[in-house]
């Protein structure tokens, strides 16, 4: 037992109970279906913009060449143009690799003292693999949900649904009622990956030591979202057309509460709303932050170009010329060399 993850788990369970009893017992459909989602969307967008704008007030005058390759130097030494870019083009490639493929994480290694003496570096790609699976699956799930928020559904959403649903695991239908509707891989990958990311924090003692409630909470919340979504799609069926009428009502600012959509939908909706509200105030802001990482988005051209610190205090300097002007006669008298003979 660890208070950090127990605290987060309890928070998510409380959220579940709030949504469940709020809708089922108190009948607060309007609060949970309309007021909270609108507020959440507003807080997410305004909060996100506010945070990024706030970051932009911090100057980053110097290049931080946290290099992963040879810097641009002499013409006959080959430069690592993407890992240590000196031009904007190189930086763009490095950013694309970072944002889409988590290149920094790919370099992840494990260190171990073998026999207490020998330090060994071990190839460790699991974190990279599951992080990539998690983020891509999350993106696919989000885009797929646009079928509820667009009428007509854009062709690229339909195409993604087609790709995502190409595995037909109808042979499982004796065990699970998942033959129809067709299985979407992204939802399952998302759940498996988020569980891996959680277990990693529990079982790797070094990672466990530095994990806080704010690390566990989003993981539990996303687990809750994925589980409630999967339940709704394959097990506790809800009326999808009713749900779409409702979400389209939200999107066109004429909200109305659907009839006969089960409480599980409101649980799902509250989890998502809480995630949106939590987003701008938490480490989840790395969605915006990754684009502003100074170690990734600045070309390493410190040797070629002078970068001036914008918050340099205007220091009053006494140059040699001024010094000589001041003491010229005395210097000549004393026989010291001067650059100019007279003022």
């Amino acid at each position: 037992m660890n208070k950090n993850y127990m605290f987060s788990l309890i928070a998510v369970i409380v959220l579940f109970l709030i949504a469940y009893f709020g809708v089922e017992t108190a009948g607060l459909h309007v609060l949970f279906g309309i007021v909270i989602p609108y507020l959440a969307a507003l807080i997410f967008i305004v909060g996100f913009v506010y945070r990024v704008r706030d970051w932009a007030y911090s100057p980053v005058p110097f290049r931080i060449p946290s290099t992963c390759g040879q810097q641009a130097s002499l013409p006959w030494i080959r430069q690592a143009t993407y890992d240590n870019p000196s031009s904007n083009g190189g930086v763009i490639v490095r950013m694309i690799l970072e944002v889409l493929f988590f290149r920094s994480l790919f370099r992840n290694m494990r260190f171990e003292l073998k026999g207490g003496k020998k330090l060994s570096y071990i190839w460790e790609k699991w974190l990279w693999l599951f992080a990539l699976a998690f983020h891509w699956a999350f993106l696919v799930v989000v885009i797929r949900h646009l079928r509820f928020f667009a009428e007509p559904v854009p062709f690229w959403v339909q195409f993604l649904e087609y790709l995502d649903g190409f595995v037909r695991v109808e042979f499982l239908s004796d065990v699970l009622q998942v033959g129809l509707p067709g299985v979407f891989m992204s939802g399952l990958v998302l759940l498996v990956a988020v569980i891996f990311l959680f277990l990693r924090r529990v079982f790797i003692s070094q990672v466990n030591y530095i994990s806080l409630a704010s690390d566990y909470f989003p993981l539990f919340l996303i687990m809750g979202i994925a589980i409630s979504g999967i339940l709704m799609r394959y097990f506790i069926k809800v009326d999808i057309v009713g749900v779409k009428e409702f979400t389209m009502g939200l999107a066109t600012f004429s909200p109305s509460i659907p009839e006969g959509v089960g409480v599980i939908f409101y649980v799902h909706l509250l989890f998502v709303s809480v995630l949106l509200v939590y987003f701008p105030f938490s480490k989840l802001m790395h969605l915006g932050g990754v684009f502003l990482s100074p170690t990734r988005n600045l070309a390493n051209n410190s040797r070629a170009k002078r970068h001036i610190n914008p918050w340099n205090y205007p220091v009053h300097v006494h140059t040699y010329e001024e010094y000589e002007d001041e003491f010229r006669e005395k210097m000549i008298e004393a026989g010291l060399p001067v650059e100019k003979e007279s003022n």
Binding site: A41, A56, A150, E151, L180, K237, E245, T252, P310
Partner: protein, 137 residues
């Protein structure tokens, strides 16, 4: 020293892109009223009054019912389904569902377009058995 924004152009451009993406549902649907499709029941369905299961169960779970039917027929060679009210049906997609709902385009398809689902069943199953039979004659 007054606080100052650095790289203002890039930051603002990035934020504008973010806001455009995040508000997609709001601007994409501007000026479109998108009510759920009005489903038309055929005269035959109207006369029958009830579907295989209750409407709420059908709305949410007709695909699971079809899945059950398919497995029963194909694996257990059992073609008879008795619903909770004791009424029996021949478990068949084209011959039963599309008997009452012979207006597939105005019924199944309309709803599926709205919900963005494309059942692959029609790759093999005929979608309107009656029309096909008439054409043969």
């Amino acid at each position: 020293m007054p606080r100052q924004m650095y790289d203002k152009g890039k930051i603002v451009a990035g934020l504008v892109i973010f806001v455009i993406i995040a508000t997609f549902p709001f601007w994409y649907n501007i000026g479109k009223a998108a009510p759920a499709p009005e489903l038309k029941l055929t005269d035959k369905a109207k006369a029958e009054k009830e579907c295989v299961m209750s409407v709420t169960d059908m709305k949410a779970g007709h695909m699971q019912l079809l899945d059950e039917w398919r497995d029963e027929v194909v694996r257990s060679a059992n073609r008879l389904y008795v619903n909770s009210k004791g009424k029996s049906f021949n478990m068949s997609l084209s011959n039963t569902c599309l008997d009452c709902h012979s207006n597939k385009a105005d019924f199944c398809d309309k709803c599926h377009d709205y919900a963005s689902v494309r059942p692959y069943c029609w790759d093999c199953h005929i979608d309107n058995p009656k029309a096909t039979e008439e054409a043969k004659e």
